[in-house]
């Protein structure tokens, strides 16, 4: 078991023949992901990486029965691509593209919700179910199979966290990089209950950062619905106010969105909050050996 994706998941790639799409789709195929085809308008009928290329998502679904799309389309066109996927009946779009205009993503997300399509990202490393299916740009070999679910706004902190969990002798069920943009798809609120329901997952690591209030919402939800142990780290305790820390959404405005506010809220509902990401592995060991 796992959440959202597994060895049977059929995936198409939007922006398949571009350099990013080509490289990472190749890596996913090597990992064992069922990449069944791709979409590049105007290149339909071609073959790329041994997989068929289609002009539209509708044609791709018809021919391959894909349910998930991995999106590498450039920022100016990514909203269009995501809405096309939603319109065609894709169930989950994993949006890797970085630098999408906020207004575009707002529109695309609203349409995806209306059509019942889940989204992950944009500006994220993607999702991986260890040993089964990698949809994204993360280095697959870090993620050894195991019983810890991971949700993170940051790409490299996802790798850092997973690596520590594995070094302590545990492993990852599914890891989801949700992205650090102001408007994102699936977040803690939707993913935590999925991990709670997944029999394979026994503990959850959530990695957040300054800005917005998703972690505060997560704290409320944990109190009500989550019984599995949760370890959390919030990046940006030492970040200055009003400065954007790399991610478009990582900004403290006024007193809202600080690391402290989020850490306090999580601690108050029984989450094991670590002050440094270097402590994630040890904390997981602690909660799992209780």
């Amino acid at each position: 078991m796992s959440i959202l994706v597994n060895k049977d998941t059929k995936v198409i790639v939007q922006g398949f023949t571009g350099s990013e799409g080509t490289f990472h789709a190749g890596q996913c195929i090597d990992y064992g992901t069922q990449i069944v085809g791709g979409v590049t308008p105007g290149k339909g009928g071609m073959e790329h990486l041994g997989r068929p290329v289609f002009n539209t998502v509708k044609e791709a679904i018809k021919a391959t029965d894909a349910t998930v799309s991995m999106v590498f389309v450039p920022p100016a066109f990514v909203a269009d691509a995501v809405m096309e996927a939603a319109d065609a009946g894709i169930e989950l779009a994993v949006i890797i593209t970085e630098g999408a205009p906020v207004r575009d993503m707002q529109m695309a997300k609203a349409y995806a919700v209306k059509k019942g399509m889940k989204t992950i990202g944009p500006n994220c490393p993607g999702i991986i179910t260890a040993g089964e299916c990698k949809i994204g740009i993360m280095p697959g070999m870090i993620f050894k199979k195991g019983n810890v679910g991971l949700i993170s706004k940051s790409g490299t902190l996802t790798y850092e966290g997973a690596n520590q969990v594995c070094n302590e002798g545990f492993g990852i069920s599914t890891a989801v990089g949700i992205g650090g943009d102001p408007i994102i798809g699936l977040s803690y609120k939707q993913l935590l209950p999925m991990f709670e329901a997944d029999p394979e997952t026994e503990a959850i690591v959530m990695i957040g950062e300054i800005g917005g209030d998703l972690e505060i919402q997560a704290a409320k939800l944990i109190k009500e619905q989550i019984r599995k142990p949760v370890v959390a780290f919030i990046a940006g305790q030492t970040a200055p106010k009003g400065k954007r820390m790399g991610h478009a959404g990582a900004i403290i405005s006024g007193t809202a969105g600080t690391a402290k506010e989020k850490m306090d809220a999580l601690e108050a509902v029984g989450v094991k909050v670590v002050i440094s990401p270097a402590e994630i592995g040890k904390a997981v060991k602690e909660v799992l050996s209780k």
Binding site: Q106, G155, Q237, A239, G246, S276, A278
Partner: protein, 391 residues
């Protein structure tokens, strides 16, 4: 990207959002000429910098004669203005805005920002104009009216009604004027990919007109490519020189006031590294994300920018190589030390793909001031120790 008040007001004017008349000046002579051109007998001389709190800092003054305009423009132009948003070093004033005086009967607050929880723009209004809105939000949150506007339906009549009744505007003509004001502001927010618009204060004049007395605008950097007119408003003198230089090389850099320079891949890990240094008893000198494609050139540039800061006593390079192979980064670091004279200890932690090979490369290079670390905690600890020994 942020713009100046006078630029925001140019955009307001284009959309029919009423403002007092004004002209920007770069010199005292221009300021005097502008005041004469505007006419009247009262003017406001306003420092143009990208920071709030200008009035309290002495950057906004009232002039009751042309002589006074001359005197005040002379004082404000070239001054280093310190406000609660500039930091203690302040900002050099290079432009002043000469604006006609306004007849203020009442001061309100109006802004449009993205509500991240609702995932749509929200119009915020308050009767407490002229005050710091964060203070209002903290002390009297009931005095802030929030109206979220779903872009799929746009600004409707009910949005306007929620706003005017919330503000306690009872006069029919005034209600109509305020609804138009807000609807135009929403339109310009959407059409220009603004990130935020804030008008504080928005004034009501003695004759019942609403005017944007101030104007603050920020834009979504990711959307600037489709707004060349706004991109042209960029004032590079308002931006930090090192941050700008770094961004040319795809590096994201922010200076802080500590002693340990950081070079990290990924924004989250970069923040996490700063936090870990702090946790180990040290202080980070900067945030620096080298991005997903660190190579010798970007690493060298990173060293160069970090070392410009005289407070830096040690550098912590923390890279989790995913797709990027660590052996390549190790070679990049060695090459970088040939390009840039690195005169402080450098703690290097390389983890992930090909990490053992990378450790071997660094070991064989045998460079005195390179200290290798096995993991994040170990690296931060070593960097803190190295900085202490330098002190």
């Amino acid at each position: 990207m942020n713009i100046h008040e006078y630029q925001a007001k140019q955009i307001f004017a284009k959309y029919g959002v009423p403002t007092p008349r004004g002209i920007v000046a770069h010199t005292v002579e221009e300021a005097v000429a502008n005041a004469k051109e505007l006419g009247g007998n009262i003017w406001v001389v306003k420092a143009q910098i990208h920071a709030g709190g200008r009035g309290l800092g002495g950057g906004v003054k009232l002039a009751k004669s042309i002589e006074e305009v001359e005197k005040l423009a002379g004082e404000i132009l070239g001054m280093t203005l310190v406000t609660h948003q500039t930091g203690p070093e302040g900002k050099l004033v290079q432009k002043v805005y000469i604006e006609e005086g306004a007849d203020i009967a009442d001061e309100l607050y109006l802004s449009v920002v993205l509500d991240r929880a609702a995932e749509m723009p929200i119009i915020m209004a308050s009767t407490e104009g002229g005050m710091d809105i964060e203070t209002v939000a903290e002390k009297t949150p009931e005095k802030i009216i929030k109206v979220a506007v779903d872009p799929s339906i746009g600004f409707q009549g009910f949005h306007g009604r929620e706003l005017v009744f919330g503000l306690g505007i009872t006069d029919k003509t005034e209600q109509k004027k305020m609804v138009q004001f807000a609807s135009k502001l929403y339109k310009l927010y959407m059409e220009n990919d603004a990130e935020m618009i804030e008008i504080n204060p928005l004034i009501k004049t003695g004759s019942g007109d609403f005017l944007a007395l101030d104007g603050k605008m920020g834009f979504d950097d990711s959307a600037l490519y489709r707004h060349p007119d706004i991109e042209a408003m960029r004032d590079i003198t308002e931006e930090d020189e090192d941050e700008r230089e770094a961004s040319k090389y795809g590096l994201s850099y922010i200076a802080l006031d500590g002693e340990i320079g950081c070079m990290v891949n990924g924004a989250g890990l970069a923040m996490g590294t700063m936090d870990t240094i702090n946790y180990m008893g040290g202080t980070p000198a900067n945030f620096l994300d080298v991005g997903g494609t660190a190579n010798a050139q970007t690493v060298a540039k990173g060293f160069e920018i970090i070392l410009k800061n005289p407070n830096v006593k040690a550098i912590f390079v923390n890279i989790f190589g995913g797709i990027v192979r660590c052996d390549r980064i190790a070679n990049g670091i060695l090459e970088a030390t040939k390009i840039v004279d690195v005169n402080v200890p450098v703690v290097v932690r390389l983890d992930g793909t090909n990490a053992p090979e990378a450790a071997e490369i660094l070991k064989n290079a045998n460079i005195d001031n390179i200290i290798t670390a096995t993991d994040l905690g170990d690296g931060a600890k070593k960097a803190v120790e190295a900085a202490k020994q330098q002190a």
